[in-house]
């Protein structure tokens, strides 16, 4: 008798894979993106062209790369508003270094180094000085962009020295018909999906976001891990900055302005919980995809791009409402 009761309970808790799928926000967001794609393919001739799909996949890759970093931050219970400024900082550092005649790899290393430094400062102020992440990264949003302006004297840079063509190839080129940023995104997605699930670091990110006090009490080195989370977020922004510099072929100091908002939107639409403890790599990627498909569809349908914000805003609200409904069921 007890065994049947046990199995009944087990069944009610561990429902089949289908209901497991339906309970995941990622599934619905992916479905929405897929439906939008299908609708666009039928409604316009321009969507399902190779050229347009190439553009969509490249454009969404930049946001998605940073959204993965943002998901780690949000899952740990924080927020990083400085990613847009980190993008411009990274792009500007690699531009200035390469324009001065240094090879691509030196420039890329310097750009990633500068980004990690931004993440380190954010992380130390948040983890060790106990300052709120919102305020610290808000300050950094302002400071890092300002530093990029100082570095470049607020001039546009469009000549990148001897490795000019290599940079443009890395950011704007394609292999096997797929844009290079998509490869970077794919690699990052696979690595981080693995890390979130199988590495202790991933487990601790969620533990800190879920109950930081508990994490401290169990003896987890919460502070160094928090620093590493903000450095990871800055790394993803730095990576996107390098790729964007190569894609655009020129860098100005307004690069990445307000990008943090799109990135946070992508993470939240993908299921990252701003209260911490929840978020997935796949969700961040799918969230970014949905935003780009919406943007692209508005352009193709000839709707004013002024409507873009309305759609993204609505999707954020739907995503959060969905989350509330899911929690009410429990």
């Amino acid at each position: 008798m007890t065994s049947t009761l046990d199995s009944a309970i087990a069944q009610s808790r561990n429902r089949g894979p289908l209901s497991h799928l339906i309970n995941h926000q990622v599934f619905w967001v992916f479905l929405a993106a897929l439906l939008a794609c299908l609708a666009l393919s039928v409604m316009t001739d321009a969507f399902a062209t190779q050229r347009n799909l190439f553009n969509v996949s490249r454009n969404f890759a930049f946001v998605a790369i940073i959204a993965i970093g943002m998901t780690a931050v949000i899952a740990s219970g924080g927020i990083d508003l400085s990613v847009g400024s980190t993008v411009v900082m990274s792009a500007m550092v690699i531009s200035v270094v390469m324009a001065a005649g240094w090879p691509f790899w030196i420039g890329a290393a310097a750009a990633i180094g500068a980004s990690l430094a931004i993440g380190l400062i954010n992380g130390v102020l948040i983890a060790y000085a106990g300052m709120p992440s919102f305020v610290v990264t808000l300050g950094m949003l302002s400071a890092a962009r300002s530093a990029a302006m100082v570095l470049s004297d607020n001039k546009m840079i469009w000549s990148f020295g001897p490795d000019h063509d290599l940079l443009l190839w890395v950011g704007g080129g394609s292999t096997l018909g797929l844009p290079h940023p998509l490869f970077a995104l794919l690699a990052l997605t696979l690595v981080m999906a693995f890390v979130f699930r199988w590495a202790r670091w991933g487990q601790y990110v969620f533990a800190i976001g879920s109950n930081e006090q508990a994490a401290v009490l169990t003896g987890i080195s919460v502070r160094p891990i928090k620093v590493s989370i903000y450095m990871f977020s800055a790394f993803t922004a730095g990576l996107a900055g390098i790729l964007m510099a190569g894609w655009l072929g020129s860098v100005t100091t307004n690069l990445g302005t307000a990008m943090e908002l799109t990135v946070i939107a992508a993470a939240v639409i993908g299921g990252a919980n701003l209260n911490g403890g929840e978020g997935t790599v796949l969700g961040a990627v799918v969230g970014a995809l949905l935003i780009e498909v919406i943007r692209n569809s508005l352009i193709l349908l000839g709707i004013s791009t002024f409507w873009q914000g309305m759609f993204i805003g609505t999707f954020i609200l739907i995503a959060v409402a969905f989350d509330r409904i899911r929690h009410m069921q429990r």
């Binding site: 487990q203 969620f206 879920s210 109950n211 403890g277």
Partner: protein, 246 residues
């Protein structure tokens, strides 16, 4: 030899004397109910044993060995585990992940170190079975009852091979049926030879599970005796001060 022995423990916070000359002894596999009104010094005493505070004077011995904790981790290494009132669990993680948080078993795969989930679930399942709890290792803590959450927190202490477990109000704010569950958990800990300090306001709980009872009033220990030689009436008198000393 006593598992835990406190001798002349005092603790001042500025001019305030939170604990005055407290001496206590707790044997192996013994459950001590620690009672007292709010502000009587219960939590200060617990925090001293758990390594959060250092005593202003007095000495602490575990199994006869004098110890001096500077940080909570020192106390953990000496075999002292605290189950906090708010339980200090991560709601979004599974029961097994919570039990193993900070000490996950890992499996080496080349240069990578992966969390060994099968081992974790198996071992957590064994701990819950040992505690006779129905908690399932894969369930997320957020969806658990108060009693199951206590089981998770207590399973943590079993995993760490604790010798002394301090429980801070484990039966506050949970249903009657769950209280019975938690008291059973405490008995299982005792049967493992673990010494338990149970801080509680609930007289019936203390009297049903404790071997000894200790009462603090305004920073001083006013009673420390076997439960059989005391009564709820006496303890109430001791807590309020109607009875001076017992």
């Amino acid at each position: 030899m006593e598992r835990l022995s406190l001798k002349g423990i005092s603790r001042n916070f500025g001019a305030i004397r939170a604990l005055e000359n407290v001496s206590l002894e707790l044997g192996a596999g013994e459950v001590m109910g620690l009672m007292g009104d709010n502000g009587a010094g219960k939590s200060t005493l617990v925090k001293i044993i758990a390594g959060n505070f250092r005593p202003s004077s007095g000495e602490i011995r575990i199994d006869g060995r004098k110890i001096d904790f500077h940080r909570p981790i020192d106390a953990q290494r000496a075999g002292i585990e605290v189950v906090y009132q708010d339980l200090a669990l991560c709601d979004h993680l599974t029961a097994a992940s919570n039990v193993f948080l900070g000490r996950e078993p890992v499996r080496k795969l080349g240069p990578l170190r992966l969390i060994d989930y099968p081992a974790m679930h198996r071992q957590a399942g064994q701990l819950f079975a040992q505690l006779k709890s129905e908690t399932r290792p894969r369930d997320v803590v957020r969806r658990m009852s108060g009693g199951q959450r206590q089981a998770v927190a207590i399973a943590r202490t079993l995993l760490s091979k604790a010798r002394i477990v301090l429980l801070d109000e484990p039966t506050a704010a949970i249903s009657v049926r769950q209280v019975a569950e938690v008291l059973d958990l405490i008995r299982h800990l005792r049967d493992e030879g673990i010494s338990v300090v149970l801080i509680s306001h609930r007289m019936p709980d203390v009297f049903s599970v404790a071997d000894r009872i200790a009462v603090l009033r305004r920073g001083s220990l006013v009673a420390s005796k076997p439960v059989r030689q005391s009564s709820p009436e006496e303890v109430t008198g001791l807590i309020t001060g109607a009875i001076e000393y017992a």
